[in-house]
């Protein structure tokens, strides 16, 4: 189901948690809400679910205004951060809960409920565990029970709050791949919240980057990584360095010195570039500084450099250097960004 969020505001005790947020989620899409803690991503998820209500704005499910519908009426599948499995119920009882509490006119017959439970258990690859209690399951298994329970009510939309937050790194990676396959198989419109950018970029069709109650950028993994729309997105996603610069006569100046790159728009700004987007040069017009540390990172090497012209406070940047390049501590390194972005102040 298509979900449209239109100019949503949410305040807690006058403290704004969400500020005029609008977003269109296409049917069948897998969307990640990504941001640091306190960015409003979980608040937005709860508003879509109907677990909280907005101070202003509207939420549409398809064409219908769902803003004032209760959580029960919205028919959403919500997977909670700590799963919130009912600990006094078996796995099967947990999964069938949403069907059993329906009014008798809408409740499927017992045999049908049982068939559905077993089918869902198969789907989340937990066949044979229906008689276990939640405390007899591992974290990853609980997660999948929570997912099966949410899917049992045939929700219009699936919402997951930090779905992998409480799992260890290896299980997290497996489940991530598994969730992607699960989504491709079932085709549910899915929104999940995460603070882990790797998770968001790998898993989602589109990533919604949030900060301080606002949406900073919406786009594919390539969009937000290669074409960040704001200084926040550039520094939040991936590694980056930033330097204050000025553009004069088409050349970019750092602390009054040309650094060998050009730009059309004149004036002061902030230069952003990624460690991997630099080239070592042997020319006077370049960024240069002393190497303060050097570390090996998987297949690459990262040099930390303090760059400063005489009499200025040093700026700390990180650049990727070829493994074979002779880089020594305290030696001088000259480089130019090959891809960059300048944000105006």
């Amino acid at each position: 189901m298509e979900v449209t969020i239109s100019n949503i505001r949410k305040e807690f005790d006058r403290f704004p948690a969400l500020n005029d947020v609008s977003l269109k989620i296409a049917s069948g899409e897998l969307i990640a809400l990504l941001g640091p803690s306190g960015s409003g991503k979980t608040t937005l998820l709860r508003l879509i679910a109907g677990l909280d209500f907005p101070t202003g704005g509207k939420i549409f499910f398809g064409e219908e205004d769902a803003s004032h519908r209760s959580v029960q009426e919205r028919n959403v599948g919500f997977v909670f951060q700590h799963y919130a499995l009912f600990r006094h119920m078996t796995v099967a009882e947990n999964i069938s809960f949403g069907l059993k509490v329906r009014p008798s006119s809408a409740r499927p017959p017992k045999a049908e409920i049982r068939r559905r439970v077993l089918e869902l258990l198969d789907m989340v690859q937990l066949g044979g565990l229906e008689k276990r209690y939640p405390h007899q399951l591992s974290g990853g298994q609980r997660q999948r029970v929570a997912l099966a329970r949410a899917m049992a009510i045939e929700p219009h939309i699936l919402l997951l709050d930090e779905p992998f937050g409480a799992l260890d790194a290896k299980v997290r990676k497996e489940l991530r791949r598994w969730l992607r396959e699960f989504h491709d198989r079932t085709g549910h419109t899915t929104v999940f919240v995460t603070h882990d950018q790797e998770e968001a970029l790998e898993l989602a069709d589109r990533v919604v980057v949030m900060s301080q109650g606002r949406i900073e950028q919406v786009g594919s993994a390539d969009d937000v990584y290669d074409r960040p729309g704001s200084p926040f997105v550039f520094s939040f996603i991936g590694e980056s360095s930033q330097l204050p610069i000025e553009v004069k006569g088409g050349t970019v100046l750092f602390q009054g010195q040309p650094i060998g790159i050009s730009e059309t728009e004149e004036g002061a700004g902030e230069l952003f570039f990624r460690p991997e987007d630099v080239v070592l040069v042997d020319a006077p017009d370049a960024l240069f500084g002393k190497v303060t540390a050097c570390r090996r990172l998987a297949g690459t090497r990262i040099a930390e450099i303090d760059i400063a012209n005489d009499g200025h406070a040093p700026y700390h940047v990180e650049v990727e250097v070829p493994l074979h390049a002779p880089v020594e501590l305290r030696s001088e390194l000259r480089f130019r960004p090959t891809r960059w972005k300048i944000f105006r102040k």
Binding site: A49, L51, V71, Q72, N75, V76, G77, F78, F80, H82, A84, L85, F86, R87, H88, F97, G98, V101, R102, H135, R149, A150, A152, I153
Partner: protein, 292 residues
Amino acid sequence: MPDQLRSPSATPPAFRDPASEGLLAKVLLILLGLAFLGFFLVLPLVSVFVEAFRNGFGDYYEALIEPDAAAAIRLTLLVAAIAVPLNLVFGLAASWAIAKFEFKGKSFLITLIDLPFSISPVISGLVYVLLFGANSALGPFLKSYGIEILFAVPGIVLATVFVTFPFVARELIPLMQDQGTGDEEAALSLGASGWQTFWYVTLPNIKWGLLYGVLLCNARAMGEFGAVSVVSGRIRGLTNTMPLHVEILYNEYNMVAAFAVASLLAFLALVTLALKTFLELRFGAGATGGRH
């Protein structure tokens, strides 16, 4: 000599757990604990039963089925049967409100719930005398409609409800606060109504804590002396509860009868303790919501 130090017969120095004490300290502390326990708990309890059976089982039995004693036992059971369910509902409602919702004046409400614990039971009784006594506004008004509160069963029930109010709530508030609202939200998101959520999710999560609170509440409801003695008027066979009856018999130097009734109360306390221990052993995980 170094060689001797390294000889195989020398036992290596025993490592002591840094958090444990030496043998002497251990023995002293344990003895102190046992002596205290024996002197203040076991000895009085044993003496109650010894005194009760001093003249044999026949007299013991006689003291219990004597009409005034039987009436006191009946009245105590009646009062508990009214006060405990009332406080079960009040306590459940109060802890639900406190644990699951945010509102202004919450800490004040918690203090208010604790009030019966912190004021003397005599004052609790006097409150009702002031409220329903002959010189109050309400007393004569109710009396004109034939409703007796003071020196009658309703007064005893009111005083007991007041005194035992905190037991269930005190037991449930920390438990429910610890469990949070996650399970309830999950149930609601799956389409359950408020009542269904309460019956199928909230109540099973707190049932052992609730049962424990009810046990404590019941023990106190049957044993309450101070508040009840102020409002009861101590009319033999009519408004005497078991604790009041014990005191009257004692004041009349009827030791065997007094201790016979007292032994029933003591027995009740023991049963409560045994049940509590059983619950903790059997459902230890459930009683704390399965979260350690």
